[in-house]
């Protein structure tokens, strides 16, 4: 068996698609939503679950691979490529579990990347959580934008977590065992927990920034009012003076 090579990230079109409905033979499938080339190899039920060396080498061509062997199925997983060895009758269910894992892994990675990208903004915005001055007024719109983005990230994470941290299925199926093992190996529940903690830090900082900006805004408005009062008092004083001078002349 020699897997056909593919470079999924740069040239997905070169990855040959599998024959319709086949899973019994070795073939490569391009899953565009995940940008993943998946090689499926059939195994006889009595064979030991070991991926052929060529399949492993094909996966590792894009980077170091995670390998898992569980109850007759074997999986190798690297960025952009994965190989699955499983007996034909269980192929569809295990393939679905693998793709489901891939989707959740992609979502989690995207969230991690977006939170990581926000640290630089957080560091520059953090002083505003304590002190907001006139010169910072032009940054209010940016703060609001980042806060809205943060709420969206939190919502995405909250929707994702139940899929990552779900209890094991019992009695298990091979597909459920593969999904659980992949999630466990990818430490998804822990990563989601860490992401939650990072988001909490961002939320606290931007929550405080929002409070300081509101306080500044209120102070700014009340200062105008104070000036109006001063002007009115000055006008009143001037009128009184005029009145006094006029009465003195008469």
């Amino acid at each position: 068996m020699t897997p056909q090579t593919a470079a999924p990230r740069t040239a997905p079109a070169t990855v040959p698609l599998p024959a319709e409905g086949t899973c019994g033979a070795a073939n490569v499938e391009w899953i565009s939503a995940l940008e993943l080339a998946l090689l499926v190899v059939s195994a006889r039920p009595d064979e030991a679950a070991t991926l052929p060396a060529e399949a492993l080498a094909w996966v590792e061509a894009t980077g170091p691979a995670q390998t898992i062997a569980i109850h007759g199925a074997a999986i190798a997983w690297a960025p952009g490529r994965a190989a699955l060895l499983v007996e034909p009758t269980r192929c569809e269910a295990v393939r679905a579990a693998l793709i489901e894992f891939g989707m959740h892994d992609r979502d989690l990675r995207e969230l991690e990347a977006e939170v990581a990208a926000g640290w630089a903004d957080l560091e520059s915005d953090a002083p505003l959580a304590f002190d907001f001055r006139d010169r910072d007024a032009e940054r209010r719109a940016g703060l609001g934008e980042r806060f809205r983005r943060l709420v969206a990230l939190r919502a995405r994470l909250v929707r994702l977590v139940p899929h990552l941290d779900r209890p094991p299925l019992h009695p298990p199926t091979l597909a459920s065992q593969v999904g659980e093992r992949l999630r466990e190996r990818a430490r998804m529940a822990e990563r989601a927990g860490h992401l939650g903690m990072q988001l909490e830090v961002h939320e606290r900082v931007y929550d405080l920034c929002g409070q300081r900006a509101s306080e500044w805004s209120l102070a700014h408005r009340s200062r105008g009012l104070e000036w109006a009062v001063v002007v009115l008092l000055a006008v009143e004083t001037a009128l009184i003076l005029v009145d006094l001078l006029a009465s003195r002349g008469s």
């Binding site: 039920p45 030991a48 062997a69 569980i70 109850h71 007759g72 009758t89 269980r90 269910a93 209890p167 094991p168 019992h170 009695p171 298990p172 199926t173 091979l174 459920s176 065992q177």
Partner: protein, 455 residues
Amino acid sequence: MRFPRVAIVGGGPGGLMTADALQREARVPVELTIFEASSRLGGKVLTRSFARLPARYEAGAAEIYDYSEVGPDPLKELVADLGLPIVPMGGSALVMGEHVLSNLDDVRDALGADAAAAFIAFDRAARDAVGCLDFYHGERGTAPPRTSPRFDAMLARIGSPAARRYVETMIHSDLATEPGATTVAYGLDNYLMNDPTYLRLYAIEGGNERLVAGLDGRIRATRRLEHRVVRIGGGSGRRLCVVAEHTGRRHEEEFDIVVVALPLDHLQRVEFAGPRLAAALRRHLAHHDHPAHYLRITALFDRPFWRSWLADSFSMLDRFGGCCLYDESARDPGATHGTLGWLLGGAAAVEMSRLADDEVVAAALASLPDFLAAGAPPVLEAHVHRWLGAVSGMPGGPTPVPLDLRHRPEPVDHPGLFIVGDYLFDATLNGVLDSAEHVAGWIADLTAIRREAVA
């Protein structure tokens, strides 16, 4: 000033946990004395090492139940408090003949669609009968009593013989008795514990006996090792007299409170003096004495030759009426050797225990399926540990009795005599801690009230 004197009879986990809990909860100082018949503390929690290689194995309690996903787990908190690292354990494989059944797909392929359907029907019935929270509260005193017929009646309702055998194999070694000798409630508990939603399993890294060492290290008590308590009865006033044998001589001591933390087979050998006390203990034993049996066989190999097929920390084997096969070397991350442990339960354990050690080891090795035996290297060293009558096949008895009555068999003339045991709850280390904490809290209240009355 005289502090209340408390005797703890039995230096197993129940005795040590009672001493530890009492020390934490007592509001007045108490003077503790622990009597232990053997030369070591720890009872059924026993971690041993091989002579030929620096490799450990569990010769007694194999794993600890983890309820922390469902609710408070006092034992896990105690393990954490003692600073002991844990290693998770788990396994879904069951070997039937030459087939490894690790999931529902395997069951369907090997036993047929009808057997798989019958198994799923049994699984649903089990879940309907005992929910996750029912299981957690179980015999812990909060759930209503569960009066149960025998478990074999429920197993007989499984439509497919193959599925029935599959379920029996899965739980036989955990039951340590035959399905006809236990209740539906206990049988279902032992089936449902395979579901990680109900509970998870773990062991203590470096050996479960580290729990004993940890407790022993922080208990301030007089330890009387090799003191077999032979008689307990009334003493002067409301005190209790404990008679212990040591090097062939008998010694008497009086205590305000006596906690008997012995397994049932040892409890039967203690004489309880006085007609009322003797009758109460006879009732206690008649209700709780449903002996169950374990036999452990552990063999050391130069490599874990089974891992290509059985990769979990344990698997079930359809030999000996259903036994558990532990990968003991999985407890030691990084170990290069292989240690395989067989846990036999029930009638098979009794039958095998009559044989000489080398015969038992040979029978264990012969029980391996061909696909494993073919690649097995020679055994470097093997040990057999017999635990006949050491556990209960019907913890809590056929119908649960109130918690207080379980723990204080004769409250009228002997209010200072308490009983602690895993057999009063669920025959686990978690159960014995529940029992110990119940009694320790009670004694703490009693000693405080007495002190206030004296003052």
